[in-house]
Symmetry: D2
Subunit: 351 residues, 4 copies
Amino acid sequence: MYCFNNDYSEGAHPRIMEAIIQASLTQHTGYSLDSHTEHAKELIRKEIKRDDVDIHLIVGGTQTNMITISAALRPHQAVIAPETGHINVHETGSIESTGHKVLTQPTPDGKLTPKLIQKTLDWHTDEHMVQPKMVYLSNTTEIGTQYTLAELENLSAFCKQKGLYLFLDGARLGAALTSSINDLTMADIARLTDVFYIGGTKNGALFGEALVIANPELKPDFRFLIKQKGAMLAKGFLLGIQFEELFQNDLFYQMASHANEMAMILKKTFTECGFPFFSESATNQQFPILPNNLIAALRESYQFQDQQAVDAAHTAVRFVTSWATKEEAVKQFAADFKTLAKKTCTILPTS
Amino acid sequence: MYCFNNDYSEGAHPRIMEAIIQASLTQHTGYSLDSHTEHAKELIRKEIKRDDVDIHLIVGGTQTNMITISAALRPHQAVIAPETGHINVHETGSIESTGHKVLTQPTPDGKLTPKLIQKTLDWHTDEHMVQPKMVYLSNTTEIGTQYTLAELENLSAFCKQKGLYLFLDGARLGAALTSSINDLTMADIARLTDVFYIGGTKNGALFGEALVIANPELKPDFRFLIKQKGAMLAKGFLLGIQFEELFQNDLFYQMASHANEMAMILKKTFTECGFPFFSESATNQQFPILPNNLIAALRESYQFQDQQAVDAAHTAVRFVTSWATKEEAVKQFAADFKTLAKKTCTILPTS
Amino acid sequence: MYCFNNDYSEGAHPRIMEAIIQASLTQHTGYSLDSHTEHAKELIRKEIKRDDVDIHLIVGGTQTNMITISAALRPHQAVIAPETGHINVHETGSIESTGHKVLTQPTPDGKLTPKLIQKTLDWHTDEHMVQPKMVYLSNTTEIGTQYTLAELENLSAFCKQKGLYLFLDGARLGAALTSSINDLTMADIARLTDVFYIGGTKNGALFGEALVIANPELKPDFRFLIKQKGAMLAKGFLLGIQFEELFQNDLFYQMASHANEMAMILKKTFTECGFPFFSESATNQQFPILPNNLIAALRESYQFQDQQAVDAAHTAVRFVTSWATKEEAVKQFAADFKTLAKKTCTILPTS
Amino acid sequence: MYCFNNDYSEGAHPRIMEAIIQASLTQHTGYSLDSHTEHAKELIRKEIKRDDVDIHLIVGGTQTNMITISAALRPHQAVIAPETGHINVHETGSIESTGHKVLTQPTPDGKLTPKLIQKTLDWHTDEHMVQPKMVYLSNTTEIGTQYTLAELENLSAFCKQKGLYLFLDGARLGAALTSSINDLTMADIARLTDVFYIGGTKNGALFGEALVIANPELKPDFRFLIKQKGAMLAKGFLLGIQFEELFQNDLFYQMASHANEMAMILKKTFTECGFPFFSESATNQQFPILPNNLIAALRESYQFQDQQAVDAAHTAVRFVTSWATKEEAVKQFAADFKTLAKKTCTILPTS
């Protein structure tokens, strides 16, 4: 039973594991004040071509979102997100648990635009309503789409003009930056956002997200907030070591590229068989719309998640590849899929 | 420069590292729903001789305290802790960040008693004050002391009678259970508390605390609360694997015993040189009161933390040993200490 | 300049003012433990024909919503509301400030149905999402519509079956219960909800809402929660005196009836001139859709609020009447409106 | 049975009641945007001799404390208060409910000093602990004592130097400013604090506290925070009217003076009978230490509260006078007390 459920089924890339073992019996300063963490930060600063950022290495994405957003907002302020945003749907109300409303807009493709943000601003005009103060994006989005340089420049200019902080959740930033349609660099993102993070958990680390704070207003006392939310790892050097490896010799990009390549084999397979997609993704998450009987047949050998029912006979499902996805497995899947598709598919989805 | 700052300077025991590597390239179910976690829970249930407990593996101690306490209390309820309790002093107000007051009593030895708890209850009589609902203990305490079976039985009976939940923070439970003066078992603790946790981070794991919930009132929906507080590790199997190793072949107890043995060498050294102690500890934290000039001389070769100034010329300091502390290093320290003590100590502390 | 902005522009009905003055120089027990409050509760219990409810008198509606909802929910639980619900839009995120998400559904008429609630339940299936636990309704709704007995019975049965608390915000309950299309009694509401409140502020009291808790699960320690949220009035007897007057000799219903009657004059006026409505309201809030030039002309003599732009040339506006609205003023408005409508209206709204 | 329980047993001064009635049938703008509120603010600005302050009128003291403190602090910051501070003891954890720790120091007289504050600062040195950012004082204190000009100047200079906001809770500011030992003016307080409030509830208003914000850092968006915490009164003009009356023709000071004068009669009575005091108060709260049998005898005719047991036979009790306390009642009490004291007192308290 091969699993396409997600990109965090395996542990870490062997080079990362090796580095952790090498350091395991040495004494390190606690709480991310160690030399590995320092070095990892230097490598990231080099990657984004800026020295004037604060960087914090944090275990997980929900933590990072919760800390960053609650650190930035005063009690009456809110964050704007796409309706499909991870903070809105899949973090069990962690933002609200820190006292803040998540304001949402439906989107066709999981992406916010100045126009959509403006719609939220138009509704929030006085002290009887929360005050929008931050915009939350994911790149790639939760449905595999991604922002272009022009789109991010527009959003950045718009947010600056409106006095909104721009926060980019990069849990799958590697997949975005290595996709065939990408025209962004990590330096662009650091330049165009107030704060963003680089995801390790979903790109070959055991765990870990690197938060990069460019806006000086968001920097003060950040370590207090990490600690308060229970997110200051005692053995913080584990995070440092992992990000050292990720940003030495391009491992971060190599792993993300591999994941995307594997996804493109899946995409080609679905396309060749004539199936449409729930979203247009060039990255490691693919959302084909498949007939329910084909889905059932596939699930005898493969694991993957439902995204959403499309009509009575068809469902959008999610296939995720990762740094660890084996090419043999994907090819085997392609072959199996074609066989099963022929057997089962008689009705194509209507939309 | 050898470091006695804490018990989380190193990574993990080689057996734990080995197990993680073995599992690193296999696919696992995410979010602690994997088979390693299931097996680890079985081992812990066996250790505490009870099947009717819920167990959750969580990355860190502050997280575990925050989730457990906020899950148990309604908004107007408070937790009682010793003034020296970790949640009161060293967690950056994480309990308060979830809306709850920490009510404290000063103690001579870091330990709560029914009498001290009653003092807090006596003050909290109506709806103009918070309502005490939980008692928080640490074993070992933050100053290395520990509870006896009789003491814990008393506290347990008292809390039951008063309708208070009893929560034991076992970040250093290994050290407590393997000290020469201990008469408690893990099964006793599971029987006498409503909820407690078994510390991995400070006892040879990379990270991880195993929360054991015995009281059925505290069990419902606990995974929601873990997720909401950002504490649900995507690769939760990493926790499972570590606790499997800790509770196979007694590794948990062996590592804690070693830490205590190393501390006893330090204790003997301080005692033989005639120095008094800030607290009476049979465990891996030792708090000698030393002359400031001796402290300065020691710091040329060793790292350790200040606990508290005692008078103008003396300070209580903290030495911590761990599963990874090397016997040679401790013996070298003992020799160095005796030499330096002779050179520098002319005035002994007055109290 | 006559004001139709809202139903809380004036102070209180003269009988209420008189009662407060009568009691002003007497000594009363503080914090709502006085005999007036006791008597007011008796009158309310009689009105709803139940003795087994807890009643609390609270200054304002936002407070009452915030306290009631945060008292009922555990940290990971959420409340379901219509998108137009007061707690979602006009309380500056007060529910979120207590840590809870407000889950919303768009509605055609400001009213929830089992089907709409089920849509929210369908999306919230596991611990990565908040857990819906309470349903929030307003009667009348924020756009003047109201629930029938059959609708409320359906909702009540549905919520019981799904384990959801049903909470009815009755800030304008008087208007609902005295409208020409109403078939509910206060006793019905007490029978069909877990908790609801009877609005005084918007129906002729200086301030005050009477919260009625029928579900025993929601009763414990409620006074602690009132105090914690800063809502325990020192001179609580002021609330008691007001609700005594409201529920003696039917003053509560008389005032609401008057407000509705005045609104019906407005409604008739708008209808006769051929204007459509944003919502179908039989109560003291009317939402005609008017041409923008007519609106501008009206605003030279009358105050009222914009609800929402409908197209480039038309806006839905809100007219509110109250216990204190003078019949002469409404008649004068009707006359003025007809004159101005003739002058200005050449294009009727398209939808 | 005459009641000395507190200073909020009665309604409001007849002049205040009269003004409310006068305005009751007029239409006012809602939410404190009315002309009475504007005028009240002008009168207060005149009283404190400053135009550059923001003023907000809020219903109650706990609300005002909660809003002010939570508006000023970031999530990891804490407020320092005397152990006896109202926010620490008698507000059901409302500050903690907004996420912030209250750090306390025991005091001999309910008053903070730079030295006591420094003790708290000394303990809070890094990100593992909360960050003290605000100091909370009450004047008069919860035990009837008060600050001198020199003391407040010292505290103000100290807080400025340490980067701490200074917040003065003036729930009983009238009593402080009119006592025989006072040398402060309201203008001094506005000059020496960052934010303070002037209590109406305990000084002859039906309810209401006037918050005065001098520090520009604390001003932004304050109305959002008032609304979010459920404290924006729909009929806010009720607050405006009351503060207009309080600050026209010195009513505020006259009422406080009367309360103090009545308390001085009580004080003289206790002193003449040889009883010591729990605290040295020149204001409307008196805390004599009385034999328990005398207390029991007094309670057949008078109500007053226990403060604290002093020894097995003696208790410190609290007598409170107000603007409404009748001189005849106090004189009758004095006579009754002397008679009963003679009958019952054979043992005087030892300390």
